[in-house]
C-alpha cells in the first residue's frame, strides 16, 4: 500500500512538472527568482525544551537558504517558495496554474517538537503503619524526547471537458513522524510501581482524496472518495508487571493474584493501532437567482486493524440561502449523522476465582458511547436595516441521541440556541459588531459513575460467602447524572474597528462567556471567561510603522472535588 501511495505521489508531481514544462514554452510576461543564502547560530541556556519547543538549534553555525521563484505568462502562473533552516525545519510550496483548466499545488513541511521528561518525582511514598507503597523507576534518565514531523501534500484540479466543466480533483498527503517519546507503565502489587522508558515513534499516515465534479446548468454535482491509512512501524514497547503478592510479607499471592488479569509477566504497552478509513461523498450545489443551495451525503468507515472493530458514519447535510427581500437574507442549515461502532465482548478471568466466597464475573459487552444520532438545524435571518446598520437573528437546535449510555435519563442531549447580532458600519472607517448568544441544554454529556455517592444511598451487602465489601461495589452507588457540562450558556462577542485615516487602524475586541449547570440546586457549577484584546497599527510616516497590542485572557471554572470515604 505504501508503494502505491509513493507512486501516486510521484505521478502527481510528474503531471504537475509536465504541465509546467509545457507552460515554459509560452512567452513569459514576468519571471523573477531570488535566492537567499545565509547562516544562523542558536544558543540555549538552562532548560531548553520549553523555550525551544519547536526549534532545534545546536550551539554552532548552521547553513540556511531560501528560494523564491515566480513565472507568469498569458496562460500560466508558477511559483516556488522554499526555506531550509536545518534538516528538521524545511518548508517548500509549489503552485502551478495553466489557464483555468489545470492547477496543482505541492507542499512539503518538516518540523520539530521537543518534549520534556517527567521524572515521576511525586510518585514515591509508603502508607504509614501499613503496606501500600508507591515507587517509580526511570530506565533512561536524561532522554531527549522529540518528534520530527514531515508532511508532503499535493493536490491538483484538472478540467477533463469544457462541456459541463467536468473536473478531476485529487489530493494526497503523507505524514511521517519519527522520534522518541516517554512511555510510563504502571504495575500493581507488590507495590504500585511505575516505570518510565523510551519508546520509538515511527508513524506514517497516507491520505488520498479523489473526486469528479460536473456542472449541470446552474448546478454542480460531485463525488469524492477518501482513503486514509495509519500505521505505526515502531517496535512495540513492553513493560514488566510484578507478581501480585503482599507488599510487606510476600504472601497472599493467591488472593492478590485472583484479582488481576495478569501478573509476573512482560507485556506490550502503549500500542498505536493500525487504522484504515475510507469514505464516499456525494455533493450537489447550485444557484437559482438570488438563492443558493447545497447538499451532501457521505459515508465513512474506520477500522482498527488491531482489534478488527469498525465505526461507520452516515451523514447528510443541506443548506439553503436566499433573499427574502432586497436587503434581507435567510440561511437555513441542516445536518444529520448516524454514528455506529461495533460492540465487542470483553472476556475476563473470574474475579477471586478459587478464593473463599463466590467468584464474580466481570465479563461485559462494550457498547460504544459513540453510537448516536446527531441532528442539527438552524435558521438565520440577516437584514440590512439602513445604510449603516445590519442585524441578524438565528436560532437552532441540536439533538444528540446516544444509543448505549449507562446514565439513565441522560442518553439524549437537546440544545437550543438563539443568537442576535448587530453591526454598525460607517463607511470604510468604522465598524462595530455586537453578538449575543444563548444556549440551553437538557441532559448534557455526563460521566456516568464518575462522581461521588451520598452516604447510605443504598445498602452494601458483602460479597456472597465472605464478610467483605469491596470498592467496586461502591461504584454502582455513584450518581449517574452529575455533570459539570453546562445546561445554559451566555456568550457575548464585541468587536470594533476604527480607521480614522490612512495612517491609523485600531481593532478592539471583547469576548465573554458565562455558563452553568443548574440541574442540581445544591452544587454551584459554573464557568466564566473573558478576553479583552486590542491592536493598534500606526503609519507614523511613509518610513515608519508601529504596531502594538495586547490581550488579557481570564478563565474561571467552579466544580466539585470529591473523594470516597474509604480506606481500602
Amino acid at each position: 500500500m505504501k508503494r502505491i501511495f509513493t507512486i501516486l505521489l510521484q505521478s502527481l508531481l510528474l503531471v504537475a512538472l509536465t504541465f509546467m514544462v509545457a507552460a515554459g514554452q509560452e512567452e513569459k510576461i514576468e519571471e523573477t527568482y531570488s535566492v537567499w543564502i545565509g547562516s544562523s547560530y542558536t544558543d540555549f541556556t538552562d532548560y531548553t525544551k520549553k523555550i525551544g519547543e519547536f526549534r532545534n538549534g545546536d550551539d554552532e553555525f548552521l547553513p540556511e537558504f531560501s528560494i523564491d521563484y515566480l513565472s507568469r505568462g498569458i496562460n500560466h502562473i508558477f511559483s516556488l517558495n522554499g526555506k531550509y533552516r536545518d534538516e528538521n525545519n524545511i518548508i517548500a510550496d509549489m503552485s502551478s496554474k495553466i489557464g483555468d483548466g489545470f492547477s496543482a499545488d505541492f507542499k512539503y513541511r518538516s518540523m520539530f517538537k521537543q518534549a520534556g521528561q517527567d521524572m515521576l518525582a511525586n510518585l514515591e511514598t509508603r502508607e504509614a503503619g501499613g503496606g501500600k507503597m508507591l515507587t517509580h523507576e526511570i530506565l533512561d534518565p536524561g532522554a531527549d524526547y522529540y518528534v520530527h514531523r514531515k508532511e508532503i501534500e499535493s493536490s491538483f484540479n484538472l478540467r477533463l471537458s469544457k462541456k459541463n466543466n467536468i473536473r478531476l480533483i485529487a489530493a494526497h498527503r503523507t505524514v511521517l513522524q519519527t522520534g522518541i517519546e516517554q512511555h510510563i507503565a504502571s504495575s500493581h502489587c507488590f507495590s504500585c510501581h511505575l516505570t518510565s522508558s523510551t519508546a520509538t515513534i515511527d508513524k506514517i499516515t497516507h491520505q488520498i482524496m479523489a473526486g469528479l465534479q460536473a456542472d449541470l446548468g446552474k448546478n454542480t454535482v460531485g463525488y469524492q472518495f477518501g482513503y486514509r491509512i495509519f500505521e505505526s512501524e515502531a517496535p512495540v514497547n513492553v513493560a514488566d508487571f510484578d507478581d501480585a503478592i503482599h507488599p510487606v510479607f510476600g504472601t497472599k499471592g493467591a488472593e492478590f493474584g485472583s484479582r488481576m488479569i495478569y501478573e509476573d509477566v512482560t507485556l506490550p504497552v502503549g500500542e498505536y493501532p493500525n487504522t484504515e478509513k475510507l469514505s464516499h461523498k456525494l455533493t450537489f450545489k447550485g444557484d437559482a437567482g438570488k438563492s443558493s443551495y447545497g447538499s451532501s451525503i457521505s459515508y465513512s468507515k474506520a477500522t482498527n486493524k488491531n482489534n478488527d472493530l469498525s465505526s461507520t458514519a452516515l451523514s447528510g447535510s443541506a443548506f439553503y440561502a436566499t433573499s427574502l427581500a432586497d436587503l434581507t437574507r435567510l440561511i437555513a442549515r441542516f445536518s444529520v449523522a448516524r454514528l455506529d461502532v461495533e460492540s465487542t465482548f470483553v472476556d475476563l478471568p473470574l474475579y477471586r476465582d478459587g478464593r473463599p466466597g463466590t467468584p464474580k464475573d466481570f465479563d461485559f459487552t462494550r457498547y460504544s458511547s459513540l453510537n448516536r444520532l446527531d441532528l442539527r438545524g438552524s435558521v438565520e435571518v440577516i437584514s440590512r436595516l439602513n445604510k449603516r446598520l445590519t442585524a441578524s437573528f438565528s436560532t437552532g437546535i441540536r439533538l444528540v441521541d446516544r444509543e448505549y449510555y449507562p446514565a439513565d435519563d441522560a442518553d439524549a442531549t437537546t440544545t437550543f440556541f438563539g443568537q442576535a447580532k448587530v453591526r454598525y458600519r460607517k463607511g470604510m472607517r468604522y465598524s462595530t459588531s455586537v453578538k449575543y448568544r444563548f444556549e440551553s441544554s437538557s441532559n448534557p454529556f455526563t460521566s456516568a459513575r464518575g462522581l461521588f455517592e451520598a452516604r447510605g444511598r443504598s445498602i452494601l451487602n458483602s460479597v456472597d460467602g465472605t464478610a467483605f465489601v469491596y470498592y467496586w461495589q461502591r461504584e454502582d452507588l455513584r450518581y449517574q447524572d452529575i455533570t459539570t457540562v453546562p445546561t445554559q450558556a451566555h456568550i457575548l462577542d464585541v468587536t470594533s474597528s476604527w480607521r480614522p485615516n490612512n495612517k491609523v487602524n485600531l481593532n478592539v475586541g471583547f469576548k465573554a462567556k458565562y455558563d452553568k449547570n443548574d440541574n442540581l440546586d445544591s452544587l454551584d457549577i459554573s464557568h466564566f471567561s473573558m478576553q479583552p484584546s486590542l491592536a493598534l497599527n500606526v503609519n507614523i510616516d511613509p518610513k515608519w510603522t508601529v504596531s502594538a497590542g495586547g490581550s488579557y485572557a481570564f478563565k474561571k471554572s467552579r466544580g466539585p472535588v470529591t473523594i470516597a470515604l474509604f480506606d481500602g
Binding site: 518548508i91 518540523m111 511514598t125 502508607e127 515507587t135 493536490s155 502503549g270 447545497g294 475586541g509
Partner: protein, 319 residues
C-alpha cells in the same frame, strides 16, 4: 430535583425572526451601486487619467498581467462599463467590488472564481459578517498570502483572541510558521480537504489519526467532543488542555481513594524489592495521586489493551 430545560432560546429566535420580518417591510431600499443600463466601456486609458497610481500597481499583478494582455478594458472587466461614471464623476455609477456584500447577489470575483473552493460562500460566516473578497485579498497590488506566516498575520488582524492564544505556553505552532490557520479552517465556508466528515472530531483525527480508534476500552469524552478537554488555539496547561491535571479530570471523576492514605514520613524500601527505595512525606499519597493523573492513566484517548485489575474490567486506560 432536576429542572427540565426550557427552550428560551427557541422562543427568542422565533421572536427575532418575526422582528426581522417586520423590519423587512419597512426597510428603505438602498440598491447596490451599478452603472446605468446605457453605460458603455471607455477603455483603460480613460480610467488611468484619474486612477493612474492604481493602474501602475495593477499592471504588475496577476490579474493585471492576464487582463491587460487580452483587453484594453481590463479595469471595466471587474468595475463594469465606466462611461456614466466618467461623465458624472459619480462613484455610485461604477461597480466597486470592495463594497459588494451579501445582499448584492453573486460578487464580481465569483463570476470568474467559481471553483469548488468558493461554492459555499453563500453560507459562509465571513459572508454573513458582511465581508467580501477585498476584506482579505488585494487586487490592485500584489499581496497574495502564499505562505503560512502571511496568512496567519492576515487572519489574526481581526481574530485578536486567536493571535493571543498562539503565545500561550501550549499552542499549535502557528507563530513559528509550521502551521497555518488554513490547516483547520476554510475562510470561504467549505471544509478541510482531508476531513472526511464535517465534525470537530473528524478534523482533529485528520492529523491525529491514532486517537480515533475505535478502541475496545473507550474514554467517553473522546467520543463526545475533543473540546471538552482541549482548546486548540492555545492554553496555559500542557497538551492544549483547558485545565491542568488533576483539576480537569476532577470535573468528572472522584479522586483516587488512595489519595486519603496517610503517608510515611522518611525513608523506605519495598520489602519485596529492596532496590525500590525512596523518601517521602506524610502527604506523599496526595502528591502521588493528585499531581498528574495521566502518569498512570497514559492511554487517556482509549486503548485495546486491558489494565491490570479485573474489578475495573480492564477499563482503567493504563496500558
Amino acid at each position: 430535583m432536576k429542572k427540565q430545560a426550557r427552550p428560551h432560546s427557541f422562543l427568542f429566535g422565533v421572536f427575532g425572526v418575526t422582528l426581522s420580518c417586520v423590519f423587512v417591510l419597512f426597510t428603505s431600499l438602498v440598491m447596490a451601486k451599478t452603472p446605468p443600463a446605457d453605460a458603455v466601456p471607455v477603455g483603460n486609458s480613460v480610467c488611468l487619467d484619474c486612477h493612474d497610481d492604481v493602474g501602475i500597481d495593477f499592471a504588475k499583478t496577476m490579474h493585471g498581467t492576464l487582463l491587460n494582455k487580452v483587453s484594453d478594458n481590463s479595469c471595466e472587466s471587474c468595475h463594469g462599463p465606466g462611461s456614466a461614471h466618467v461623465e458624472n464623476e459619480d462613484p455610485d455609477m461604477i461597480i466597486n467590488p470592495a463594497r459588494q456584500n451579501q445582499f448584492d447577489g453573486k460578487s464580481t470575483c465569483l463570476s470568474c472564481h467559481n471553483t469548488d473552493n468558493f461554492s459555499n460562500w453563500a453560507m459562509a460566516d465571513h459572508n454573513a459578517a458582511d465581508m467580501n473578497c477585498s476584506s482579505c485579498h488585494t487586487i490592485h497590488s500584489d499581496d497574495v498570502a502564499w505562505t503560512s506566516g502571511k496568512i496567519n498575520n492576515l487572519c489574526t488582524e481581526c481574530h485578536l483572541d486567536v493571535k493571543a492564544s498562539a503565545f500561550m505556553p501550549s499552542h499549535h505552532p502557528l507563530k513559528e510558521g509550521n502551521m497555518s490557520c488554513l490547516d483547520c479552517h476554510d475562510p470561504h465556508g467549505g471544509g478541510a480537504t482531508f476531513a472526511h466528515e464535517s465534525s470537530i472530531r473528524e478534523l482533529c483525527f485528520s492529523c491525529h489519526p491514532e486517537k480515533e480508534g475505535p478502541f475496545i476500552f473507550e474514554h467517553a469524552p473522546v467520543n463526545e467532543d475533543c473540546m471538552l478537554c482541549h482548546s486548540p488555539h492555545g492554553t496555559v496547561a500542557d497538551n492544549l488542555l483547558t485545565q491542568t491535571e488533576p483539576a480537569l479530570c476532577l470535573n468528572c471523576h472522584s479522586m483516587h481513594f488512595h489519595a486519603a492514605i496517610e503517608g510515611w514520613d522518611g525513608a523506605f524500601t519495598t520489602p519485596q524489592a529492596p532496590e525500590r527505595a525512596g523518601t517521602t512525606t506524610a502527604d506523599g499519597w496526595k502528591e502521588g495521586m493528585l499531581t498528574k493523573c495521566s502518569q498512570c492513566h497514559t492511554e487517556i484517548h482509549g486503548t485495546d489493551l486491558p489494565s491490570q485489575t479485573i474489578s475495573t474490567s480492564g477499563n482503567a486506560l493504563t496500558r
